[in-house]
Symmetry: C3
Subunit: 176 residues, 3 copies
């Protein structure tokens, strides 16, 4: 069985770097599934910076919506795939359909493929529910959805790391 | 001595479900002290959904203000009580008295009863202080109060679980 | 080698109190480097309250900008210094220069001195990235900077404690 790892934590807590550190232990073909869609210059700059940092180490696939199908159709022989990140992806889904919840087909496709993925998968997500309740109803909906998705993915994952100040705290499974 | 358990974590991190999982290990009489007051349709829908989910497993008592007295006067023979949740309760108290702090009588009554509760008690709360400082002075007051209360309850608790993505991380005491 | 301890966590999670508890195990000279600058009455009240609480136990040095140099020039014979806190300090730096990042000279001076500090140092910081993405671009910049700094300091620290509801969870190194 292939191994599923979830890496969660706050913003700028070292999640992506830790995902890449784990993935670099694999020889062969490493795929990076990038979920971000550049909607403004600030994001374009972030995306360019991140792509430059991982160039030559990963083959990047950009997939802002249907990441379950993207994982299902990874090239044969892929050793490991990073999905970075689930919370940005949820933002894309809600931008298309504000009322979406965990029963939405793209979310169900992701959860389905995680039961038997074609290669080891490392998913990056964010903890977004430890601040005060947001004023905006859409923000409350978003953090509900993110929390529900994180729970569902963590349940399927073999390992879950919670990042705090760059330190991976294993809260499910063992470090390699 | 009866056992006090505190379950904390972000929004939608699986706190209530974990509280109910623990409580279901008890036979006999299980009480659910619900602190939420429906103030709008969004909340009424959440409350109805939660009540339906636990029907037949728990006897529900609604007590938005004086949860210390509610615990003190639980029916004899109660085996376990869940209080869900402290942060909503603090919101109710502040709605009545914006300046309230941990010295407020209802808070002191709760802290007092936790020294020697009539049955095992499982309290659910939220981590609300890991976002950026809120703009609103009242929101800052609220998160100060929630932080102080969480510390005071955690100190009295035999066990504290910190929920991350649905996973209980024991940070005080041991899992059953 | 002198020991560096980082204490992180949400607001009102008991970080400062835990820093002082650790520092009180030292005899001799204890210094408290306070980074807060009172900009309004709310802050002045908080600062006065905190100073009163630690009077006679610590010698306080107020340094809102150049805390690296403040540590480098501590009086000979200092046994332990608390820096409380890094996130307030970052706010001061950004108030002077909104575009500042971890390459800013005061930040580099702090990181440099932590490689070989003149005494044991206990730094207090905040987790600020576990809420939803802030609307304000400056707030996003601030939480990026705080996250990057926390990672850099945690990497240099011998011990990192993550505070949750007043409970120190050691995520790097061991408790004394």
């Amino acid at each position: 069985m292939k191994k599923v790892t979830l890496i969660t934590g706050g913003s700028r807590s070292g999640k992506s770097r830790y995902a890449q550190t784990i993935a670099m232990r694999y020889g062969g073909t490493r795929i990076f599934v990038a979920t971000a869609e550049p909607v403004d210059e600030e994001m374009r700059a972030r995306i360019r910076k991140h792509q430059a940092e991982r160039a030559e180490l990963f083959t990047t696939i950009e997939e802002p919506y249907d990441i379950g199908s993207a994982i299902a159709s990874l090239p044969p022989g892929t050793d490991v795939a990073i999905v970075d990140c689930l919370t940005v992806w949820l933002g894309n889904l809600m931008y298309r359909n504000e009322r979406c919840d965990v029963t939405a087909p793209p979310i169900q496709r992701l959860l389905g493929i995680l039961d038997d993925p074609p290669c080891d998968v490392i998913l990056v997500t964010n903890e977004v529910g430890m601040g005060i309740v947001p004023d905006s109803e859409m923000a409350r909906r978003y953090r509900d959805l993110a929390g529900h998705l994180n729970q569902a993915v963590a349940q399927k994952a073999d390992r879950v790391a919670f990042m705090v100040s760059g330190i991976p705290v294993m809260i499910k499974g063992e470090k390699d």
